[in-house]
Assembly symmetry: C2
Homo-oligomer: 204 residues x 2
């Protein structure tokens, strides 16, 4: 089954975010908390609230802040480009699953060797948050998927209309931010993505 990852936008309050997640969490595989302006205490409070609404720790990843991930016991971390080195995180915090953001084949291979458990690759299509930067496109995504054995999740400008193409590339899933969290009807949006992911029967 192809995975659906939801990444927080950095534009919503904790109550707004929790409200949306309470509607959609049964239909998504992973929630990434990625909020540069939250304090550690805000992260902890948000995770407590996620647990309260029934989200299991196994669905939660934290961007960059490995320490918060260790203390809260979530599934793993997502390491952006300028974060801690994968090999060090693996060495000092072996209980964590490590997702890693990459933007090239070379980096993908390097991070798999370093111990990453999953790669987030993008941006695949042009998106508002990456305006002006050329998208990497489906052919590059296919190339990455061929070169590594760990799951590759595609990110950037993914809409229900292009999910099919992404799935056919061999990616193991998609990551969405505003397409769900800033949608007029987040639950409808998630169900639409989910339906497209279900339609794709091929497995890597």
């Amino acid at each position: 089954m192809k995975q659906l990852h939801i990444i927080s936008t950095g534009q919503q309050t904790v109550p707004e975010f929790i409200h949306i997640i309470s509607l959609i969490h049964p239909y998504i595989d992973f929630i990434h908390l990625r909020e540069r302006n939250w304090t550690a205490q805000t992260y902890i409070d948000c995770i407590d609230q996620l647990l309260d609404i029934g989200v299991p720790l196994e669905k939660i990843l934290i961007n960059d802040r490995v320490d918060i991930a260790v203390i809260t016991g979530v599934y793993g971390v997502q390491l952006p480009t300028h974060s801690l080195p994968v090999k060090d995180v693996k060495k000092y915090f072996p209980s964590l699953q490590i997702g890693c953001s990459v933007h090239s084949v070379e980096k993908a291979i390097e991070q798999e060797k370093a111990g990453a458990n999953m790669l987030l690759y993008g941006h695949i299509f042009s998106s508002r948050s990456k305006a002006g930067l050329p998208p990497r496109g489906i052919s590059q995504l296919k190339n990455i998927v061929k070169q590594v054995t760990i799951p590759v999740i595609a990110i950037g400008g993914i809409t229900p209309r292009n999910v099919q193409d992404v799935c056919e590339s061999g990616a193991n899933g998609i990551a969405v931010l505003s397409g769900v969290l800033l949608a007029q009807h987040p639950l409808h949006a998630v169900l639409e993505y989910r339906e497209k992911l279900h339609l794709f029967k091929g497995e890597r």
Copy 2:
């Protein structure tokens, strides 16, 4: 001997900061890296450069980012008010020394019980960075020092002229930011603070 802690200002580039530390580090006891806008990679680079100029890991504390402290092997962390809970940091990362920022006697007692190894208390005098907030003053500092057994470091508006008063309060040292790092002559400034600290012979 009373301690002299230097805390980074959040206003300097890594090269500027490293240059100043290269001049002053033999005369200071601890360097706190406290830079909200640095990535983990920037922290690691800066610590590498501190080691290159001869600063031992035992003199370095990192504000808030426990994960970076663990991976780089520095002496400890300084936990601000909205950081990770002291008891959790102690439990999951027992190798670290834990400094903790407090603003009241109640919190000081609570954080000592939770396992803090050192308290940073302030602000003692009015300072530019806390304009508008009433300073806590020497009498409150004396009160804190009496109520806990761990070292208390005073912060906020401390100049060479009031070091004597701070030392007489029983505080174990002082923490300075702009008074040294933004001084016209950082080395002169440090030597002036150091001289005043040396003049005070009483030990807690």
